[in-house]
């Protein structure tokens, strides 16, 4: 059974997170992704300076499973020649160096399209290939600061708070993947390749469309409102319980009345302070106190069941490991088993990786190939490119240096 991107060849010069996430999506849909690494390898192999068995640290495995790895020192002419042969082999080139680096290596878009006219070439960077900030260093945290992302979460008036994981990297990687697949579709229809410029800063703005859009259209400025929902109904919020917290969404009058019934407080329905939506917002603090009092008698998981059974949207606040353990996500087959070689396997539990996150009717995303050890496929790839055995031995004999 063929996956959607079977036969598509991706030459991946990217490292760390956003670029590898982009090629992970391509890989999970059947593309042959060749990851070019320096002799030191992608820093994610040993993330945070920690050394991991066979260079297969968890962060690396998470977004590189199924790819192949070749080690090249792009400062050496004979290794650069290999890279150029790989460009001729490839349908897609992905890179996330700082703007200008690929050009200096002789591997920029213009150089690549001379080798392969219909190449789809995607550059992923912090600020993009144009604009006054293009040369600035960028990590997720800095982009979260500059984009406005850090001023959206938290209680009113609270200091800036970042989203506690590199959400911009992730979104950027996915946006790059979308752009690449779109360009492949375009190539299929017209025969033309093209250059794609994806930037973390741009991606952050697009990610905020639900608040950035209304600002652009009509000057509406978003305000922080903690966990309170957009309706500002005090019963669309997050509450403590006997054990854990729960988020509920009782907005309409019928939902409010059902909530009161489930928490066994029918008096709150007829309480003059809470008679309609306006009054409930006006007396929000008093209502919140009543709900907290009522919720103290059961756990968040118990309330979740009771409220959903009654048709009131409710979800206990979970940790992500509890979410994965939920029978629902087990049934969704969201993850894949991953084969780790000897030492790395012993270091982990039953290792799994996330699949692409969407389910296709046939030819589903996924891979049964392991994550690559550094340079694991160097020899095999050189053979595929037509190098003779003596040339391969010579190329592999010289220890590659970091580029």
């Amino acid at each position: 059974m063929a996956q959607a991107l079977n036969g598509i060849r991706v030459l991946d010069f990217s490292h760390v997170l956003a670029g590898p996430i982009a090629t992970n999506y391509l890989c999970m849909q059947g593309a042959d992704v060749v990851k070019v690494e320096s002799g030191k390898g992608d820093t994610m192999r040993n993330y945070g300076g920690e050394s991991h068995a066979e260079g297969l640290g968890p962060s690396f495995v998470s977004v590189n499973t199924g790819k192949r790895s070749i080690v090249l020192d792009l400062k050496k002419p004979e290794h650069l020649a290999v890279a150029r042969k790989l460009v001729a082999w490839a349908d897609v080139v992905v890179e996330n160096f700082r703007p200008g680096v690929m050009e200096r290596l002789g591997l920029g878009y213009e150089a690549c399209r001379k080798i392969r006219a219909d190449i789809v070439f995607c550059s992923v960077s912090g600020f993009g290939q144009s604009g006054p900030l293009k040369a600035n260093p960028a990590v997720d945290q800095i982009i979260q600061s500059m984009s406005g992302l850090m001023n959206l979460s938290g209680e009113p008036g609270s200091p800036a708070m970042r989203i506690g994981f590199p959400v911009v990297d992730t979104f950027t990687g996915m946006l790059a993947s979308l752009a690449i697949v779109t360009a492949l579709l375009h190539r299929g229809r017209t025969g033309e390749g093209q250059f794609i410029d994806v930037a973390m800063m741009d991606a952050a703005m697009v990610m905020m469309v639900s608040v950035a859009g209304p600002y652009l259209v009509a000057g509406v400025k978003p305000v922080k409102q903690g966990n309170l929902g957009y309706s500002k109904a005090p019963t669309a919020d997050t509450f403590p319980t006997a054990d854990g917290e729960i988020t509920i969404g009782a907005i309409r009058q019928d939902q409010y009345e059902m909530l009161c019934k489930v928490i066994e407080r029918p008096d709150l329905v007829i309480d003059a302070r809470f008679a309609d939506r306006g009054l409930r917002r006006k007396n929000a603090a008093a209502l919140r106190a009543e709900v907290i009092d009522a919720f103290s008698s059961r756990t968040a998981l118990e309330w979740e069941q009771l409220l959903n059974d009654a048709g009131v949207a409710a979800g206990a606040v979970r940790n992500l490991w509890d979410a994965f353990a939920h029978p629902h996500l087990q049934a969704r087959k969201l993850t894949l088993p991953v084969q780790l070689p000897g030492e790395a396997a012993q270091a982990g539990n039953e290792a799994r990786v996330l699949n692409a996150g969407f389910v296709l009717g046939h030819d589903n995303p996924g891979t049964d190939k392991p994550p690559p050890r550094l340079g694991e496929h160097s020899r095999e790839i050189l053979q595929e490119l037509g190098y003779r055995q003596t040339e391969i031995d010579r190329l592999l004999a010289e220890p590659a240096e970091q580029h």
Copy 2:
């Protein structure tokens, strides 16, 4: 000049946010998106119960510009017949009703593929088309609770904190768009359409890959650490200044020394408490106090300039409207002007919408068409489907009811 999805026809039954975001990406790349609405229209036209001029509220305009609108009452046989003709017309169907609704209307995937064998049919939902929770109501906040997203941001030990905008809706829409374009690529290569199942809950897990991945691979559980970076270096964090806050990323020894130089505190380099990374982490509170003291002499924007000039990654915490005003984002051409009809135009400022967020070498995303008024294109679309004038008059004469 043709855009990548020119000639692709999308029949869009979706409403509110995740579905319309998916089709917005398709529209921005040239697809002809026909939005099917009930007589009441997409609730986002008048979001939060507020009435907007011509039903073109800012949230609606943000993600529906360039689409066409037809009003159909799918409970009426003659209107359902129009919908079925539109399926025959379409390359792609997108819907985000609760699972089962399209089947009951006679417009489920199996029914649609009988009309058009190679249809790409994408269902977007809260929990997906399978699994025990598939019938549960889902809004962004509930998914943020249940997925673990609300337990990632904030200070250690702090209560659950949602990301302050519907980030899951956005990510889900983009994931759906990626899946659809992939399926179109697949169709181009094989002639086959397919069914695509995209769920907000799945999307939330995939969005957290940077922390969910390491958990799945090796049982690593994420911990909250406020604005402190992953390095846990106390000088990779967010600080108050004379005016506003700033995030900096001084991790390596050379970056730390440069920071000390820029803030004119060379004594901190030789201070025994801060002599290396380990000591700085050990004496983090003391170092933070020193940095805050130093930063109090200038504004965040001044420090941003000084630090970047010295090669230390730094970004002032901005609001999103300040980010849009930055010369860099102005240069990136991230947004498009949008034409609003009379009344709606007067309500807004100079209205703009976000483009797709990536830049293509040619055939760039974008649209010069306005957002549709409710049913604006009903007549035109019926004509395109081949209905005669008398039939059209009859279909349009009957006021459609909400489905």
